[in-house]
C-alpha cells in the first residue's frame, strides 16, 4: 500500500484556498527557500525536533528511551538517529515540550478518513482539501491516488505547489485538482538561485504550460523586504502572467515566527537578510495587481 510522509493535517484552514479547508502538509521539498516557515517540511524523512531552550536537562528522555539512543553530549540531549525508531516515548514523557517528531506515514485511506470528517464545512463554505507541503507533487503517485479518491468523495481539491517539479507531475495532478496555488518567489534567476538554491526557469515554464491545461490557478507570492519587495519584481510577475489564464493573486507578507523552528532542527536562520515588508508597500503592490484587473488579496 502506498504511503506518504505527512507532517501535519490542519483543520479549519482558511488561508490555503477558498472557504473552510483541511490542509494536508506533505514532507519533502526540492527547494530551500531562505525564509521557509515550515523548515521541518523540507526533508522527505521523519525528523526529531529538539528545543534546547525548553530542555532543562532532567534526563527523563535518556532514561525512557527503549533504544538507548539519547545521551547527554556537552550539556545537550543528543539523539543518535541511527538508533532512533521514532517510537515517541521521549516526546510523551518530556514535561517541557522540548521534543517533537516531524512526519508521520499515512496511507491514502487514512488521509481520506481524516479529511472527510469536515465535509459539511466544505459544502457550506465552498471549501475543500488543500495538499501543501513541502512539495506534495514530489509524491505524485500518492497524490494522484488521493486526488482521485477525494473526487469520488465529491470534495473540492487544491494543490499548493512550488512548481519545481516535472511537468508530468503537474499534468497528472491537473486532471483531478480543482485549484492550483502556484508559488512565484523571485523572477530574477540569479537571485532565485541565491535565495532558493535552484533556477526558476523550470518553474516559469511549468506555469505557462499549466495555464494552458488548467483554468483555476491562484498565484501566491511571498513578499520579503530585502529579497523581493520591489516594484520591478511585481512588474515582472505581471508581465509573466498577463496573457495566461490567471485571475487571482495572493500576496503573503513575510513574517519571522518560524525562526524558532530552525533552532529546533539545529539549523541556521539567516534573519539578517530578511525583513517584514511595510503595510504601505503591501498595499501598493496590491494596487498594482488590482489595476490590471486581478483579484488580489494580502494574506491567505
Amino acid at each position: 500500500m502506498k504511503k506518504a510522509m505527512i507532517f501535519n493535517i490542519q483543520k479549519f484552514s482558511v488561508h490555503d484556498g477558498p472557504g473552510i479547508r483541511t490542509t494536508v502538509f506533505f514532507k519533502g521539498c526540492p527547494l530551500r527557500c531562505l525564509w521557509c516557515h515550515n523548515p521541518e517540511s523540507q526533508n522527505l524523512k521523519q525528523e526529531m525536533l529538539y528545543d534546547r531552550e525548553k530542555c532543562v536537562m532532567c534526563g527523563t528522555c535518556e532514561k525512557i528511551c527503549p533504544q538507548k539512543a539519547i545521551t547527554n553530549v556537552n550539556n545537550s540531549m543528543v539523539t543518535d538517529m541511527s538508533k532512533c525508531d521514532f517510537c515517541g516515548d521521549c516526546v510523551t514523557y518530556c514535561l517541557y515540550e522540548a521534543r517533537q517528531i516531524a512526519g508521520k506515514e499515512y496511507t491514502v485511506e487514512e488521509i481520506v478518513k481524516e479529511v472527510v470528517k469536515d465535509k459539511l464545512f466544505y459544502k457550506h463554505s465552498k471549501g475543500g482539501v488543500t495538499l501543501s507541503g513541502g512539495e506534495p507533487l514530489l509524491q505524485i503517485d500518492f497524490v494522484e491516488e488521493l486526488l482521485k479518491r477525494l473526487k469520488e468523495e465529491n470534495i473540492q481539491t487544491a494543490i499548493d505547489t512550488c512548481g519545481a517539479v516535472s511537468f508530468e507531475s503537474l499534468e497528472r495532478a491537473a486532471k483531478y485538482a480543482d485549484i492550483f496555488l502556484y508559488d512565484l518567489k523571485l523572477m530574477d534567476d540569479e537571485k532565485h538561485k541565491e535565495y532558493i538554491g535552484a533556477s526558476n526557469k523550470n518553474i516559469i515554464e511549468n506555469l505557462k504550460k499549466l495555464a494552458k491545461i488548467h483554468n483555476n490557478i491562484y498565484i501566491r507570492m511571498p513578499i520579503i523586504e530585502g529579497v523581493n519587495a520591489e516594484v520591478s519584481h511585481i512588474e515582472k510577475v505581471i508581465e509573466l502572467i498577463e496573457g495566461l489564464n490567471i485571475k487571482k493573486v495572493y500576496l503573503l507578507p513575510y513574517h519571522d515566527i518560524a525562526k524558532h523552528k530552525y533552532m529546533k532542527l539545529g539549523r541556521d536562520y539567516e534573519e539578517a537578510k530578511m525583513q517584514v515588508p511595510s503595510d504601505e508597500k503591501m498595499n501598493s503592490f496590491k494596487d498594482m495587481f488590482a489595476k490590471k484587473g486581478y483579484e488580489v488579496k494580502i494574506g491567505g
Binding site: K11, V14, G19, I20, E97, K117, L120, F121, H124, S125
Partner: protein, 789 residues
C-alpha cells in the same frame, strides 16, 4: 453615545449609568395587604387581589423622553423585593448593598422596615423557608456539597414566554373568557369545580390588575401633559395616554400599541412574582410585523419610527436588573441579567415558511446600536432563511460582545416534536432564558437546578465521600483501586448518578408542590394556553404542556476524566489507579509526570476523536435517560438541558482536582464546550464532537466558541463563520455563540477595570460586563480556547 435618535441616546445613557437599587414599595404593600386579608380568600384569589392592590397603589413613572411606559418598580434600575418567596434578612441586604459585584443599594431606613415590618410577617411563611423546612437532610447535604443547585430556592418558576395572543385580544376579552369559564363550571359533576372557580377568580382579578395599571398610566400621562410646557412633549404625553386608553384593556391597533401592550404585560408578569428568566416576547418580529406593514402602507410608519420605538423597548428591558440573589443562588447566576431573550428570524409560525421580514432586520440594527446586556437578543436560523440575514447577524456577533447568539430553527422544532408537542405548537417554539426550548404561550417549562456531573465521579473515586463537606453523601460503590476494568468504574459512576438524581428529584417533587399550592401565578395563567381551560394554575400543571428541566453541567470535564482513567489505567496501562489517584489527591503537586500524561497525552473531547467522544455520548445518554421522560408531580415531564450560566465556576469551586488534570477549585467545563486547551484541532473539530450528542433529545445545549478579531476579518470571515453555523445546524446542533475578543484585551481589562468599563463578553446564554464578573469567571473566559482562522 449609542442610540438611533437623541431620545434613545439619553434614555440609554440613563439606563446604563444608574446604580441598581432595591425598593420596598412592593413588599410593604403586599405585607399590609396580607396582614389585613389573611385567611379571607382562597390562595389564588388572594394572589390575584394582591396584584390588583399593588397596581392600584404603586407609584407610576414616566421618564423624560419616554415613549413606552412602565417600570417594575419606582424607576429605571430599581427592583422590587418578593418577601413571599424570599424574605431577605437584614444581613442579606447588607451584603447586596456592599458587595463589589452585582450590588444593589438598600436605603438604611428600608433595612429597618425590613426588620420591623416585612420579616416578622414573612419569616417561616416565604416559600424559601417552607422549602428548606420540608426537604430532607440528604437533599441539604447534597445541596451544600454542590452536587446540584435549586432554582426555586429564592426565585419563582420561570420560562415564561409570550406568544401572539396579546396582540389579538385585550384583557377585557381575556376577562370575559374567564368569566364564561366560571359560569360554565359544573358544580354537580365536576368535583374540582370549587378549586377551579378560585383559580379563575384569581385570574379575573389579575386582568383587572393590568387594566387598572394601564388606566392609571393614561391618567398620569394626561396629568403630566397638562403641566408640560414644551408643546412637542405635551403632544407625546397625550399620545402615550392615547395608547394606554387602548392597551392593555383592548387589543392593540398600532405598532406602538403592540410594544406598549407587551411592556405592560412584562411588568405584570415580573411583579406578580420574581420569575427566573423574567418574561420574554418570544418571536417578536413575527407578531408585530403585520402592524408595521399595515401602518407603513398607510404612510404612518417607517423604518425610523419603528427603530426608535424598538430602541425604547430595548432600554425598558435593560432598566430591569434581575431581583437580587444571595448565597448559592447568586453563585449559580451572578449577574444583573434577568434573561429576557428575544428570538428573531426563523420561520413564520403559521405557515412554516421563511419568517425573516423587515422587522427582523430592524431588530438586528437595534441590538447592534443598543449593545445592551438586556434583552438577550438571539437569532433563529432556519435553512429557509436567506444568507443575507445570517451574514448581518454574524457581522454584529463578531463585534465581540456575544449577541446575537444563534439558534437552529429546524433543531428546535425537532426537540419539541420529540418531547410530544404538535407541529403547530412546535412552530411557535423558540428559546428563552439561556438556551432553553419551549412552546411559547403554551408551555410552562421550568429550570429546576444544575447537576454537577464531574463531581459525581469525584465522589465515586472517593467511595461516596465528599471532601468539600467531609460527609459521606454518596453510595459506597467500592474502593476504586479494586476496580478490575473500566466497566466497573463506569457502573459505579452510574450508580452514583442514579443516587444523586433521585435525591434531586425527590426535592423537586416537594418544591413543585409548594409553588403549586402556595404561589399560584394567576396573571401568568391568563397568558398561557390551557390554564383557563383547565381552571388550573401555570405553577400547578395548568399549561397545555409542562416541562421541568435539570441542567447537566460539565460534560467536557467528565468525559476527559473518564477517558483519562480508561486510557491511562486500563487501555494503555501507563499508570495504576493508585498512581493516578495519589497524584489527583495531591492536586498533582509533585506528580508533574502524571499530570503531563493525563493532560497532554490522553484523548480529549472536542477533537472529533471517537475515543473520547464515544465516552461523552455514553455519559450524555445515560444521564439523560435517568431524567428524561420522568413524570413531575403536577403532570409534567422531565427533560435535560446542557447549559451552565455561571454555575460551572461554582461547581468547580466545590471540587478537588480531577483525574484529567483539572486542578482543584478550577471551573468545570461550560455548556457542551471542551475543557480549556483540550481542543487542539480547531473549531470544526469542536463542532463535530459537540454534534455527536443527540441535541434533539434535550431542551437545549450551549456552545461557546471564541475567535480572535483578526481571524474573522473581512467578508470572508463573515462567510466562514456563517458556514460554520450552517454546517453545525445541518448536524442538528442547537446553539452556538461567539466571543470575539483577543486575550490581550481581556487581560488588560482585568488589570485596569476602570478603563474598560464598556467591555461586554459572552458568559453563558447571556452577555455581561467583564467587570461585573468575579475573578475566577474572568480567568475562565480568558482561558477559553481562542480559535483562530
Amino acid at each position: 453615545m449609542r442610540g438611533y435618535t437623541e431620545r434613545t441616546k439619553r434614555l440609554r445613557h440613563e439606563s446604563e449609568t444608574t446604580q441598581p437599587s432595591v425598593s420596598l414599595e412592593r413588599a410593604i404593600l403586599e405585607t399590609e395587604f396580607y396582614k389585613e386579608n389573611e385567611g379571607k380568600y382562597e390562595i389564588p384569589v388572594m394572589r390575584g387581589l394582591n396584584l390588583l392592590n399593588y397596581m392600584q397603589k404603586r407609584k407610576l413613572y414616566i421618564g423624560k423622553d419616554e415613549l413606552i411606559v412602565g417600570e417594575k418598580s419606582e424607576g429605571p434600575q430599581v427592583v422590587p423585593t418578593y418577601p413571599e418567596i424570599c424574605a431577605h434578612t437584614v444581613e442579606d441586604m447588607d451584603i447586596m448593598d456592599s458587595r463589589k459585584l452585582v450590588s444593589f443599594k438598600v436605603k438604611p431606613e428600608d433595612k429597618i422596615t425590613q426588620k420591623e415590618l416585612i420579616l416578622p410577617y414573612w419569616e417561616g411563611k416565604a416559600t424559601r423557608d417552607k422549602l428548606l423546612d420540608q426537604v430532607s437532610q440528604e437533599w441539604k447535604d447534597c445541596y451544600y456539597a454542590g452536587m446540584f443547585t435549586e432554582f426555586m430556592e429564592q426565585r419563582a418558576p420561570g420560562h415564561t414566554v409570550a406568544d401572539d395572543k396579546m396582540y389579538k385580544k385585550g384583557f377585557l376579552d381575556f376577562k370575559r373568557e374567564i368569566e364564561e369559564a366560571i359560569e360554565a363550571l359544573d358544580f354537580e359533576n365536576d368535583l374540582d369545580a370549587y378549586e377551579k372557580r378560585a383559580q379563575l377568580q384569581g385570574m379575573a382579578y389579575s386582568c383587572d390588575a393590568i387594566m387598572v395599571y394601564g388606566k392609571r398610566y393614561a391618567e398620569y400621562a394626561r396629568e403630566l401633559a397638562a403641566k408640560e410646557e414644551d408643546p412637542k412633549r405635551k403632544e407625546e404625553l397625550l399620545w402615550i395616554a392615547g395608547n394606554c386608553d387602548v392597551v392593555p384593556a383592548h387589543k392593540p391597533e398600532t405598532f406602538a400599541q403592540c410594544l406598549q401592550m407587551y411592556w405592560f404585560v412584562h411588568v405584570c408578569v415580573t411583579t406578580e412574582s420574581n420569575t427566573w428568566d423574567s418574561f420574554s416576547p418570544g418571536r417578536l418580529d413575527q407578531y408585530i410585523y403585520p402592524f408595521y406593514k399595515k401602518e407603513k402602507e398607510e404612510g404612518t410608519m417607517d423604518y425610523g419610527k419603528a427603530r426608535e420605538l424598538l430602541e425604547c423597548l430595548w432600554i425598558k428591558f435593560n432598566n430591569q436588573p434581575a431581583p437580587p440573589k444571595v448565597g448559592i443562588t447568586l453563585k449559580e447566576s451572578a449577574t444583573y441579567t434577568d434573561f429576557a431573550n428575544i428570538n428573531t428570524g426563523g420561520i413564520n409560525p403559521y405557515t412554516g415558511e421563511d419568517g425573516v421580514n423587515e422587522i427582523s432586520y430592524i431588530i438586528l440594527d437595534t441590538m447592534d446600536e443598543m449593545k445592551l446586556l438586556q434583552p438577550s437578543s438571539n437569532v433563529q436560523i432556519s435553512e429557509k432563511n436567506p444568507d443575507e440575514f445570517l451574514h448581518r447577524a454574524v457581522e454584529i456577533s463578531r463585534k465581540g460582545w456575544g449577541q446575537p447568539a444563534f439558534y437552529n430553527t429546524e433543531e428546535l422544532i425537532q426537540e419539541l416534536l420529540n418531547a410530544g408537542k404538535t407541529l403547530e405548537d412546535a412552530r411557535f417554539g423558540g428559546s428563552s432564558g439561556c438556551v432553553e426550548t419551549g412552546c411559547h404561550g403554551r408551555e410552562s417549562y421550568v429550570l429546576t437546578g444544575y447537576f454537577n456531573t464531574p463531581k459525581v465521579l469525584e465522589i465515586t473515586l472517593n467511595n461516596g465521600f465528599d471532601k468539600y463537606t467531609n460527609k459521606q453523601i454518596g453510595l459506597k460503590t467500592g474502593n476504586p483501586e479494586d476496580f478490575k476494568s473500566y466497566e466497573e468504574l463506569r457502573d459505579a459512576f452510574y450508580k452514583q448518578v442514579d443516587h444523586f438524581i433521585r435525591i434531586k428529584i425527590e426535592g423537586n417533587n416537594i418544591i413543585e408542590k409548594i409553588f403549586a399550592k402556595y404561589m399560584p401565578v394567576t396573571f401568568m395563567s391568563v397568558l398561557t394556553d390551557g390554564c383557563k381551560e383547565k381552571g388550573r394554575d401555570y405553577n400547578a400543571g395548568g399549561a397545555k404542556y409542562n416541562t421541568r428541566y435539570i441542567q447537566v453541567v460539565g460534560i467536557g470535564t467528565i468525559t476527559d476524566a473518564l477517558a483519562s482513567v480508561k486510557y491511562n489505567v486500563f487501555d494503555e496501562k501507563r499508570l495504576t489507579m493508585k498512581e493516578l489517584l495519589d497524584a489527583t489527591n495531591a492536586n498533582f503537586e509533585g506528580y508533574e509526570q502524571v499530570r503531563n500524561l493525563v493532560l497532554n497525552h490522553t484523548p480529549k473531547y472536542g477533537n472529533d476523536d471517537d475515543y473520547a467522544d464515544n465516552i461523552m455520548v455514553d455519559v450524555f445518554e445515560n444521564v439523560r435517560d435517568k431524567i428524561r421522560g420522568r413524570k413531575t408531580v403536577n403532570g409534567g415531564t422531565y427533560q435535560i438541558d446542557m447549559l451552565p450560566t455561571t454555575c460551572h465556576v461554582y461547581f468547580g469551586s466545590v471540587m478537588t482536582a480531577s483525574v484529567n488534570g483539572r486542578l482543584a477549585e478550577k471551573p468545570v467545563t461550560d455548556g457542551i464546550s471542551p475543557e480549556k486547551g483540550a481542543d487542539t484541532n480547531g473549531p470544526t473539530a469542536v463542532i463535530k464532537s459537540c454534534a455527536k450528542m443527540d441535541h434533539t433529545s434535550t431542551g437545549g445545549t450551549l456552545l461557546n466558541q471564541k475567535f480572535t478579531p483578526s481571524s474573522i476579518a473581512g467578508q470572508e470571515g463573515i462567510e466562514n463563520v456563517s458556514a460554520l453555523i450552517r454546517a453545525y445546524f445541518e448536524m442538528m446542533g442547537h446553539h452556538i455563540q461567539f466571543n470575539v475578543v483577543d486575550r490581550a484585551t481581556l487581560i488588560e481589562a482585568q488589570k485596569n477595570p476602570d478603563e474598560n468599563k464598556d467591555l461586554i463578553v459572552r458568559v453563558a446564554g447571556y452577555s455581561d460586563y467583564f467587570n461585573n464578573l468575579e475573578k475566577a469567571l474572568q480567568d475562565e473566559i480568558i482561558d477559553r480556547t481562542e480559535q483562530s482562522f
